[in-house]
Amino acid sequence: MQAEQMSAAAASDVALPIALAGISKSFAGIRVVNDVSFDMRPGEVHALMGENGAGKSTLIKIMAGLHQPDSGEIMVSGKAVRFASPREAHAAGIATVHQELLLFPELTVAENIFIGQTPKTALGAIDWTAMRRRARQLLDELDSGDLDIDQKVIHLSVGNRQRIEIARALAQDARVLIMDEPTAALAEHDVQRLMSIVRSLRKRGVAIVYVSHRMPEIFALADRVTVLRDGHLVGTRPVPEVDEPALVSMMVGRSIDRLYPAKQGKDGDVMLELAGVCHRGAVRDISFQLRRGEILGLAGLVGSGRTETALTIFGVTPATAGRILIDGKPVTIASPGQARDLGIAYVPEDRAHQGLIRPQTIEDNIALANLGRLTRGFFVDAAKVAAEARGAIARFGIRARGPGQPVRQLSGGNQQKVVLAKWLATNPRILIMDEPTRGIDVGAKAEIHQLMRKLAGEGMAILMISSELPEVLGMSDRVLVMNGGRIAGEFDKAHATAEAVGTVMTRSYARERAA
């Protein structure tokens, strides 16, 4: 019924930059988008929300020309169109920043921004000067003047890569800009930067589709919100007319306990200790203790050395100085394999490159970190592997056809759950989680937080890195603030307030830049 109203409205209003009417799409016979209508007005920020696997990304890919709808109509400025390819969608003024970063790691920042749309000289050769100048200008507009446009993208952090994706979309002079979870990878500070960019684009009349699982952003930014559930349209509402509980119940069909779970039991002995650990210039003289049953939060801006510290503990970039002790005994960790055998698990920040083998199935991915346990004699025990994966799918509520589905076909949030499942299956004693709830919907997020508490209650030691300040403050028993590769402050639960932690994060940041 809602759908009918919307399509009627779309048909009557010719000026709409894009309007979808009755769109459906199936994969392998399963409908993932079902009769959805959706429209954009010039100069509005339109939030698209829903649980993991609700069909948001699929709907976006249809608008971006990556998928063709099975039925329904796409209207651009009142004219019905069919996009056979992303190129045609670009030409119609629709630019997209996808959820999974699609950059070319071996090309430079400037080349990535202009791939497929390189400025040409009169002779038809690539105009490098123009390209570099435009790239510089676009990044400056994005308040990212600190990025080196000649650097290869492979060396950049997720946060920086995300900004390049946005610059690339802007380079197309889009009338509709679609952003699929653009802030999932960004720290609080960068989120603010992005939001001001979005606001200025809105002023220029660009229509922005904005997908996010973070409620505060929606209320700060969006004019209207559309909610999908199981591929169906639940409804479109002006943001001032809804509140958070209303949105949540539209998304999940029930209300959710959004309080952070309370600590159970007491901390035990020190399980992991770092003493003066360094790795080149990225990790400088890090010392801390992590106890059984404790959740230690690591706060800081993107690039402050949190991930680098985790990688050093996990043996990806082994320590160049200092000592790491487990249960009070010094250990050498020179590879992730060694770290895993010592009972350390690391859920990485970049699931597409570090966390998953995307062409492989759910069961293969979960098995990969657990081959020792899933092997009988010389052979991988296929039955055990499948059973393990089925268990994980049930435990984490992963939305999939079965253990044999390739992970790249899963929605972003469900891929994240597979990474979590893979590492929890190793039965770690020390769990390092780098952005554990990135891209995870409200309901599942609360479940993961409860799970973390339960694991800690059972004696696991957890080190959590998160760029979401409320999450760090809500979950951690203790918070370490990192900056410029060092620990710049430590707060216990009672003193860890947003102001106190935020100040340390940014104050030292300013000093670092000045130095």
Binding site: F314, V316, P336, G337, P359, Q360, T361, D364, L368, G372
Partner: protein, 316 residues
């Protein structure tokens, strides 16, 4: 099994059908083709490139390539002759020692690739020249002949009416299929080829696995060298020239992705049989050598196109 398995099985089904059709056509073109004698003899000729292709499948599944196998074969062959004739070692000792040297040559490839991070294409292109140069330097353009009669068993003998080296190839194929398909080592091989970073982050010892694979590639080339020398009864320094391309052709025809992460031993075995059947059958029906190469090239392109088609249909 691995994610791409259903698709690969389909590729293999197509390949098996293609092989069958080719056999039928060739049999109708020449009545000598489909005789036990001819087929067994073709199996004999296939063994050397076959052994090399097995290891090459692992190499390519990791996303690598080994161009030096032909040169390792030549080097091993020369060393075998020199150890025996010039140094006066007993022949069995010379065989073992030469095989060890060939294996070591593969190990050196692995070291260059894993320790110094040289791309496999470049590393093995360099050792292709290096090992061949060594072989020529050591042999000084002389060939070695006059091996004792018992030595010819490896390349010319039969067990239960089947050529000896065909037994070796059969056993090696079974072993390789089991290792790649069913063991943790095989899983690691696929994972490295599909996403090396994620494999490392999963605790896979990426460098160790690669080192083993390149060493095994050297070992297979050395084994092929012994069989080759025994079959042709002499040793020359240009033995095995261009063999790497035959092996790579068989592997790619068998459905292994040159980008890594996908492929099976069964595919490689089918690719091998198809190529050998085409070479032999076309020769028997009077097509000149160049004609056979053209046909093989066309079949390869066809197979790759079919593979790409499957890729597209799979979506994602």
């Amino acid at each position: 099994m691995t994610g791409a398995q259903p698709k690969l099985l389909r590729h293999e089904t197509v390949l098996a059908a293609l092989t069958m059709i080719a056999m039928a056509v060739l049999a109708s073109l020449s009545d000598k083709f489909f005789t036990a004698d001819n087929l067994l003899n073709q199996g004999r000729l296939m063994a050397e490139v076959g052994l090399i292709s097995l290891a090459m499948t692992f190499v390519i599944v990791t996303g690598g390539i080994d161009l030096s196998v032909g040169s390792i074969l030549g080097l091993t062959a020369i060393l075998l002759g020199v150890f025996w004739k010039n140094l006066g070692l007993p022949l069995p000792a010379a065989i073992v020692l030469a095989t060890v040297c060939g294996t070591f040559a593969g190990f050196v490839n692995g070291l260059i690739i894993t320790r110094f991070g040289v791309p496999p294409l470049i590393a093995t292109l360099a050792t292709l020249a290096l090992y061949r140069g060594l072989a020529e330097g050591i042999s000084e353009a002389r060939s070695v002949r006059g091996y004792p009669e018992w030595f010819f068993f490896f390349g010319q003998g039969e067990v239960l009416g089947v050529p000896f080296q065909l037994w070796v190839l059969g056993l090696a194929t079974a072993a390789a299929a089991v290792i790649l398909g069913l063991t943790p080592f095989g899983r690691a091989t696929y994972a490295i080829g599909a996403n090396e970073v994620a494999a490392r982050f999963s605790g896979i010892r990426v460098n160790a696995v690669k080192l083993w694979i390149y060493t095994a590639s050297g070992f297979c080339a050395a084994l092929a060298a012994v069989i080759f020398v025994s079959r042709v009864t002499t040793t020359r320094s240009d033995m095995g020239t261009g063999l790497e391309l035959d092996a790579i052709t068989a592997v790619v025809l068998g459905g292994t992705s040159i980008f890594g992460g996908r492929g099976t031993i069964i595919g490689t075995a089918l690719g091998l049989v198809l190529i050998q059947a085409l070479k032999n059958g076309l020769a028997l029906s009077g097509v000149k050598g160049d004609g056979a190469i053209v046909v093989i090239g066309l079949v390869l392109i066809g197979a790759i196109l079919v593979g790409a088609l499957f890729d597209r249909n799979r979506g994602g």
